[in-house]
Structure formats: C-alpha cells, structure tokens
Symmetry: C2
Subunit: 640 residues, 2 copies
C-alpha cells in the first residue's frame, strides 16, 4: 500500500490569502479566547471549569467536577492547536502557559497513569465501566493528539511522556489477551490518535492497540450489550438504533453504509484507513473505501457537511439531504477532512482531495465567523429565522453564530484543523511530490532525497492562477503532481514559461516529471467560471435547483443582499454572473440576474401564475455568511 | 347578525356517490368496529377500557381507570355518531345498545351530577384542580354533543337529562359570579357543545356558560398560571409557548394569529362564532373572522389540513407549510369544517363553503381508508417511507393507515362528521335556501314557510352536473342560492330547461328568486377541468410547484402508479390531463405526460444537466391514497 507523507505543520508557511488569514484569526483570536474560556474568564459565558477540573483532580483545589464528562478534551484540543501554532509561529509566552497546563495534567494524572478529571474526582471506582457513554477513551485520544502536536511543534516530550504512561495503562486494560477487557470507545477518537502516537514513538504496541479497537468493534458477544446488562439496563435507548449510534451495530469490516453519530463515524473511518495503511490490510482499506463511496455519493452535502439530522447528530439515509434541518456539525466536516487526508495518503486520487477541499473551504470554515469570535455548531444550507424560531424540528439550527457552546467541541476543533492546515497541502513519497491544495505558501520538503523549498504564489481559492517556484540547492529528479481540481474543466500549465502541450493526468493529478533545478517555475492556470451545480436526481431536496460554485467555493444568498423570501428567487437558465470583490467581507461575490416570483393575490391558493420580477441577485461564499446582519440564507436556488 | 339554519341530519338523505358511500362505511364498518374497540374486543389492538372504565365508575366492576384521562370522550363520540346514524338509518338493535351505554353513563354519574370515570375512580378529590391538563370540561363537551345528537336522532332525552344535570353542576362551579371558579377548559370543546345544548334546551344558562368560557380565557390574573402555582409548579413546560398551546396566551378578543394545538384552536374558533351569533357580538365575530383570514390565507394546506408541525400538534407560523413533516391531524381538518359551517351560518359566503368543502373532501376523508378499517391521524402531503423510517422529525408520519390508535380521537371524529354530513349541505333563513355542498341527496326543508323536498341528482364531486328538483305541494316564493364553488371558473345554469342568461351572484352564490312550484328543476353545470393550483409565493415549500385539482378534489401521485422518487417528476407547462374512471379505487383519476429527471452519473454533484425522460403520470384523489400498496406519495409536483 502506498504511504504518502504529509509535510509537517512547521514546514508549511501560509503567506497570505484565505487560509493564511484564517490561521491568523485562530492564532490571534481563537486560541487566546479559548484559553480564557477554559479558565472561566469570558464574561457572560457559561463557565467551562475545564482547567479547574484538572486542578481539583490534582488535589490543588477543593470541589466537584463540572461540565460534560468529556470536559478534559477541550483542554486537549486547545493544547493541540497550540502545538500547531507554536510550530508555525513560536511564542515563548504561550508556550510557557501551555507547559504549565501540561504540568497540571501531569499532576492530575494518577499514580498508575490514569488521566481523566471526571473519574478521578467523581467516580474513581467507575473507570472503564461504561465505555459506551463515558468518553474516557475519547478524552485519552484527544490528549494523545495534543501530545503529538505539541511534540512536533516544540520538540518537547512533556505531554508525550504523560500520555505514554496513560496509554501503557490503557494497553494493560484493553486487548485481545486473556484477562483484558474486550471493549472499545463509545466515541471513537483514540484509534486515530494511537496511530499518530505510533508515528512518533515507533512503538508497535500503539499500533496494535488501535487495530484492536477497530477489529473488536461490533463483535459478538457485543461489549456494549454486556456492559449495559451488567449495569442492569435493558438497552432501551433514546436512539432508535442504539448500536448504530456508535457504529457498533456490525463488526467494522461488515459495514457498508454510514450510520449514526457523524463525528464518531468520521473519526472511525479515518482510523480504519490508518490501520489498513500501517498493517497493509487491503480488506480493511476496501471497507473504508466502500464507506467513503456511500458518504460522498449519497450522504454528503455540497458544502462537505455530513449528518443530515439533529437526531443522534447523525446520518439519516441515502440521498436524504434536507437544507433547512441539516445538522452538518462543524466537527463532522472536520472529520471528513481527516478521513480524506488519510485516503489520499494511500491513494493519491484527486477525488479525495476534492472532498477534502470541499469540506475545508465550505462546511468547516462556515463554522467560524470572519472575526473568529463566533461559531456555528450546526451548518444548515437554508435558514429562515422565523421558521427556526417556531418549528421544533428547526430548533437546533441557529440563525447566527454563537460565542461559545455548552458542548464546546466545534470551536477548538476548527482551531486545531486550521492551525495545522499546512499538513493537508502536500504529500511526498520518494521522488513523487503531490500538491493537494493550493494557497499562497512556502513549504520545505525532502523530495527525491533532496531538500527543496516550494513556493506557491496564488490568490487561491479566489483566483485560479497558481505559480509554483522551486528553490533547490541541488537538482531534483522528481515527479511533481499538481492536482487538477474536480470542479475545474479548463486549465493549462506552463513550465518555465513554456506551455505544456500534452500534459499527463494521473488520477486527477497533472504529472510533471523532470529534473528540477533552482528557479524552475510552474504556472498552473485553472479556469474558475461561475458554475451551476446540480445534485443527483435521487436527492429530493434539490431537484430542479442549482447551487452556485466558483472554484471550490460554494456560494449562498443572504437576505440582506437579496430581500426576504429567498426561496421565491428563480435562476433563469441563461443568466450569467459577474465576479466582484467585496471589501467588507474581503471575498469575491457573484452578481447576476434572476427572477423573483411574487403572487398576484393574498390568497394561499390560486390557479394564476405568479408574476416574475427581474431582480439582480448577489451571492457570497457560503463560509462567509452571517457576518453582517442576521437574516435568511439559501444555498440551493430554483432554476427555471 | 344573520342566522341560517342547517337542515337536520335526519332531513337529508344521501342517496349515492362519494358522501353516501363514506356514510355507508361509517355505518357498516366504523361504528360497529368502534363499539368493539370500546369494549376491548378487537383482537391485536391495545384495549380501550372505555366501557370498562364506566362500569368501574358505576361501581359494577372492580379495578382502576385505564387509558387516557379523556377516555370517556371516545364513548361520547361514538354515541354522537350513533345518534346521527339512527337519524338517517334507524336500527333498533343499535339503538338498544346505545340506550344501554347511556344507562351505564347514568349509573356512572355521581349524585351531584358529576360524570367523568377517571376522576370518579382515581381522584374523586381532584375535580377541577387542573383544568389545563385534565380534560374534564372537554369530556363533558363531547357528552353534551352526544346527548344533542342522540336526542335529535331518536327523540330520546335519556342522555340529554344526564348531561343537563352535569351541566347544572358545571354551571354551579364556573362563572363570573363571586365564589365560582374563573377557569376554562385546557382543551376547548364544551363551549361549542353548550351552544348546541342551548339550541335544544333553550336554557339561557347554557349560552351564558359558553360565553363565560370564551370571555374568561386568557384574562389576567391567568387562571392556568394560578393553577400551576397552586400545584407548586413553575409553569415550565415541554412546550416553548405554554399558554399558546391552549390559545390562552391572550384574551380571546385580542387574538389575531392561529397558534398552538390546532384542534383546540378549531373548536374554540367555532365556539367564538357560535357565541357571537347567539349574542349578536360583532366584536367577537370580527375576531373570529380575523383568525379565519389568518388560517385560510396563511396557515392552511391545500387539503384543508391545518397544523404544520408535530410539536404541540399545532401551528408553526405563517406560510410555513412543509409537505413531508406536516401534522395536519384529521381532527383539525374536521374542526375546520365545524368552524367554516358556523361562519356560513352568519355570513353565507362561498369562501367559507369552499374551505369547508376543501377540508371535507381532502384532509378529512384522507383520514379513513376506503374500506373504513384503517385511519390516518397525520395527513402529510409527501411521503417517502424510507425517510419516515430514518428521520426522527418524520417519525410522527405513518406511511400507511393504522387500524386504531392509543389516542383514538380521529376515527370517532371522522365517524361523527361523516355520519352527520347532511347538515353541512344546506342553510335556510326565511325565504332564502342555500345549497352549500353538492352530492346526490333528498332533503326536506321548510322554505319560506312551506314544506318542500329538494332532490339533488349528481355525481359530484366527480362530475360537475347537478340537477336540483323541487317537490312542493304549495308554491314557494323563495330565493334559492346555489353555491358556485371557488374552484369553478366556467358554469351555467338552466331553470326548467331554460338557460339563465344573466345570472346574479351574491357572495359566490347564484341567486335564483322565483315562485317555485312542484316539479321545477334547476340544472347547474360546473365545468370541472383539471387545474394546476399554485400556492402563494410566500410559501417556500411549494415555490415552482403545482398541485393538481379537479373540482374540489386535490390529487396526488403514488409510487405504485408512477415509480419511486416522485420528487424527480416535472410537469411541463403544456402537458394536459385526461380523466379516467378507476374501478379498483372507484374514483376518477388523471393521466398526463410529464418528465422524469434522471441523473447521468452516480455522483452526488455535477454541473451536467440531468436527462429528462418523458413519462406518463397518474394522479389519484388525495383522499384515496394508501388504499393499495404502500409507497411514496406526493401532492406538490414541480413544474418546468
């Protein structure tokens, strides 16, 4: 199996443009804000108690645990983001703060390595008794990811040593060996974290434990069933399909359709690819690819959002993609990015990068306001504030981003993804260097055994011109693979100013094999017209509708540009769009002609055809909605 | 204020056609089946315990009360339906059974007149302590309606005497006088029942009590708030707008928008018209008309269903009419018929009759299967069984009618409406005789002081030809008003074979003033083409869509005629329909050409336009859906 290595976060410097700007916001706004939130210093916000919980667990403060049972994971995700941030932008003061938190984690860790403030404080005797619900392994997973990121970002082993001790304990408790528990997490996360740990430690034990959790899941006798029987419960659940909720309804290798809680699903599917890659397990890889096909061809929104319903924060069924009641949790889109990246490592096909890009630039970035101060947990594709306020089945949708959440999973998840976005841009394997994502950056890589600096100059995703320059002290006999995005139907490429007349495409990547020397340039020109995208006709919601897309950016209409009742706007087949740059939002917007249906009557029902007024409509990138006034928003426009 | 009198149920004999056939099914299937259900004799069905509860309350059996707190109302609704049934089709055996039930009710009645098996058995000390939730006045209302119907149908006062004693008690407990409770029912129903009782008894006390309940509702200090404070509750409710649920958020006269539980709303709005009419209260009538405009111009489905959401079984907000998650309880459509009839009594405008007819032939009749053995509680306008099975916000929708319900309000409500449908057809006031509804029937009326027999010969609602003959021993100097349905755009009328060349229309009624003599005939011909109906463009759900309607019947598509994925069918502007008679369903069906969108790809998103295949589509009357195989159903078709 192939194994492309992403570049390290520290080796990719985003220079300017959208991703760079989003990283800046994470760095300057989100990480400091979250630090305050973890310390209960945000006026008006519900206190997190996350740091306090650790202080209590460390015996340094009196009190009980507050917040969710997985409150520790907020600290872990913050530390992970800090690790990435320090990798690209060292900051001694922040590093000192992080080191202090890590020391606190060390003091909160129990003698035997156990580390979870809830159980240490509240139920020391209850460890590992309710894997389905209690998130112990989930929190451990986030700590592990934080430790790896912090180690990679700072070179410090302080958190790594703490989590290795914890993992030693977990490994002594869980596993196929007699006497060990045959359990696995209710919320997957530790599996992919253990693989990351394995990459750093090289310790086979970490790989084996991840593989155990994957292989054991859903096996009979069913661990969660045995657990609930031990607790004297009947297994009756608030959820109609109790075992599907955590993707434990079947052994993992028998799963073919994405079901249940979508974030759990994404994390598990990611780990499946990891385990398959590391153990050369073709069968497991095929299962992961089958689930991928199900998700991307039947259950994914055009924004890269997944999870069609609030119920179980999860999948509903194939082709069921309601715009207004969509759940499409920010964390699930982030999970889809994780999964796509892992598939790309094994199979560098543009299809995976296309989805990664779709999710990143749309369903992930929509989760955070332009100023970095407000967040969406739920990312719908249609919003009518009045309906949200009166329809129970819309109550989970918010018409505007919130400053923080009781369940604060999404904001720190965005922070850690965006802060590490450099590692999603490239893949290297021997003499092959893949460019998966475009964005103005400078990257350091070892390519065909040589140190090279790649410089991308571009306004991507706003413009399709990308100039790649190679700085190489020594000539590099390497193959450069430049992704031709799935959305792009017309493109050309020049090498050192000369057009490449018969370019070779391989799985959606433009293949440029050459001995590269210092100063070589590649100019890729991706035509970026405004496109009308249609869903498969099996999607009831979007029959007869189009979404506007330009480059990887899905567009939407907001009430403040287009008036209320956006649903009555009809896009004629012949209308064309112009692209303008909008200063306030700092994004390219689209303007074009449409019709607006207006009734001739106050009655509800009539045989008369409505009037169609000609109007100019304005569309903005989906990720940038709700940054001005609150109001209606719509992605899918009727065509007619 | 005007006051048209409906004809009595016994005076209208339905001879043949849809309404006659539905009455037959009620008579032959539903009433006997419900009797078995009330006696727990339906194999496989959850026992009702309704008769048993009364036996226990009467001290004739040991045990506790089972079922809902309003279980008695099932018995009352059955007796009411029996009253109507005996009015049109005497049946000594059934009457004997009913008399025995009435005797049982008499024995279950307490010394002081109180009659409610739940409180008598379970909480004798708890009477009138939780009006908001406990349905005592609601059950009383249904008993009163039953008593009136039974008296009118059989001439017997047995149930009337029982309820008059009960009402005397209620009147001694509630009222504006000092020392009486200032409460009113949580579920409105007794208000309209008391007006019916007043018509039979002529006792002003009954009218005054009804008026009190209406006027007192929502006044400050708020009775329900005082009640819950007495119970030591905070008023925190499962419902986001606790006082709106029962339309007690404002004094009745200040209400302008329909909110809350839709059946309660319909019953209350009906009673408001009753009280306004009986007390010549123009202000109250104007409030009722304002609420009517809100409902019919902003919150009513094309089927006459009301109640857009399952949450609170209620209204959501203006123009919010989702097809697939619609609640549109059968009882609410029935309530809309009640309300429309009362408005017609005061203002004979075709608008009211149009809505009455729309609800009756669509949203009410859809509640019962053609064979009378299965019922819908919820009447959606779009069903995809797979989605219903996997989407939590669709779980209230059933893909197929059920044989009985735990909360069995709808089946007996259909029974009592359909069994009494004759009284919705005519209105008489002095020398004016209004024909509101068409259907083959023979009616006895006193018109301009003379006894006349009117005979309608017609296949309405399947055909638009209606022949009315007058049998009158004496000449009648009367004005005949024939409703020209709102859906009808082309019509003509002949009197004694001569076309009326300059017909006069008055509020949607054709006015024929004449001295009528025996044998006079009127031939009304209502053109009944297939119509494409559009919603107001403020209804997001149906923008760009049409519903097919012919005469008063709304049509729908079923999967078994049209294949799966009905949403992908597109109706071209130019396609025409032919009408055929379908033998199995015994209804006229529509056939026409449409297009079906079929994707060229297995991918979810594409810039390619889908293929459009030409297909023949078949539409059947909405009320007749789900009488063959289960599958998808769709009312609103995309046009394009």
């Amino acid at each position: 199996m192939r194994n492309l290595q992403p570049l390290a976060v520290k080796d990719v410097a985003l220079n300017k443009g959208l991703l760079s700007e989003r990283m800046r916001v994470i760095r300057e706004e989100v990480i400091p804000y979250q630090w305050k939130a973890l310390n209960d210093q945000v006026p008006g916000a519900e206190p997190s108690h996350a740091i306090e919980n650790l202080q209590i667990a460390a015996g340094e403060k009196e009190g009980v645990h507050h917040g969710f049972i997985f409150q520790d994971s907020d600290v872990a995700k913050w530390l992970e983001a800090v690790g990435y941030r320090l990798a690209t932008h060292p900051d001694p003061e922040l590093e000192k703060t992080a080191d202090e938190v890590i020391e606190l984690l060390g003091r909160a860790q129990e003698e035997d390595g156990y580390l979870n403030s809830f159980f240490t404080i509240m139920r020391p005797e209850g460890r590992w008794t309710n894997l389905r619900d209690d998130h112990e392994l989930y929190c451990a997973g986030h700590l592990i990811e934080a430790a790896v990121a912090y180690y990679e970002g700072t070179g410090k082993r302080n958190l790594l040593d703490i989590v290795c001790r914890f993992v030693d304990l977990i490994d002594s408790v869980f596993g196929p060996e007699p006497g060990k528990l045959k359990g696995y997490p209710g919320h997957q996360e530790i599996e992919l974290a253990l693989i990351r740990l394995y990459h750093v430690t090289g310790d086979e034990k970490h790989l084996k434990l991840a593989k155990f959790f994957i292989d054991q899941r859903g096996q009979q006798p069913h661990y969660f069933v045995q657990e609930w029987e031990k607790r004297g419960e009947t297994g009756k659940s608030w959820y109609a399909w109790p075992l599907e909720y955590q993707q434990s309804h079947l052994p993992v290798r028998e799963q073919t359709k994405a079901v249940g809680h979508s974030v759990r699903a994404m994390y598990m599917y990611s780990a499946m690819v990891d385990v398959a890659r590391e153990t050369n397990d073709v069968e497991l890889m095929d299962v992961a690819k089958g689930l991928w096909r199900n998700v991307v061809s039947k259950q994914m929104y055009i924004t890269g959002g997944v999870g069609s319903q609030e119920y179980g924060e999860g999948f509903s069924t194939d082709y069921d993609l309601p715009s207004d009641t969509a759940y499409t949790e920010t964390c699930a889109a982030i999970g889809l990015v994780f999964w796509a990246q892992r598939l790309l490592q094994v199979e560098p096909k543009a299809e995976y990068a296309d989805v990664l890009e779709r999710a990143l630039f749309n369903g992930v970035l929509s989760g955070i306001s332009l100023d970095g101060q407000r967040f969406f947990y739920v990312n719908p594709l249609e919003v009518v504030p009045e309906v949200i306020s009166r329809r129970r089945d819309h109550f989970h949708v918010r018409p505007t981003r919130q400053s923080w959440f009781g369940c604060a999973c999404c904001p720190p998840n965005i922070a850690r993804l965006v802060a590490s976005v450099g590692k999603y841009m490239y893949g290297v394997e021997g003499n092959a260097l893949y460019v998966h994502l475009y964005g103005d950056n400078t990257a350091e890589a070892v390519w065909a055994g040589k140190n090279v600096t790649l410089r991308q100059e571009t306004d991507y995703p706003y413009e399709g011109e990308v100039k790649v320059s190679i700085e190489a002290p020594e000539a590099v006999d390497g193959v450069l693979y430049l992704r031709i995005p799935g959305w792009c139907q017309e493109w050309n490429v020049k090498v050192n100013g000369e057009i490449v007349t018969s370019p070779t495409l391989e799985e959606g990547y433009l293949k440029l094999a050459r001995v590269w020397t210092n100063g070589d340039t590649i100019e890729l020109s991706l035509a970026m017209p405004v496109m009308r995208v249609r869903s498969n006709t099996l999607v009831r919601e979007t029959i007869g509708k189009v979404a506007l897309q330009r480059g990887p950016l899905v567009y939407c209409l907001e009430e403040q540009d287009n008036g209320a009742n956006l649903a009555a706007l009809i896009l004629p087949a012949e209308s064309e769009f112009i692209v303008e740059f909008e200063e306030e939002l700092n994004v390219p917007i689209l303007r074009g002609e449409a019709k607006r249906y207006v009734s001739n009557t106050d009655e509800l029902y009539t045989t008369a055809e409505p009037k169609a007024e000609t109007v100019t409509i304005t569309a903005i990138p989906y990720f940038a909605w709700d940054n001005r006034k609150s109001g209606e928003m719509l992605v899918w426009l009727r065509e007619g």
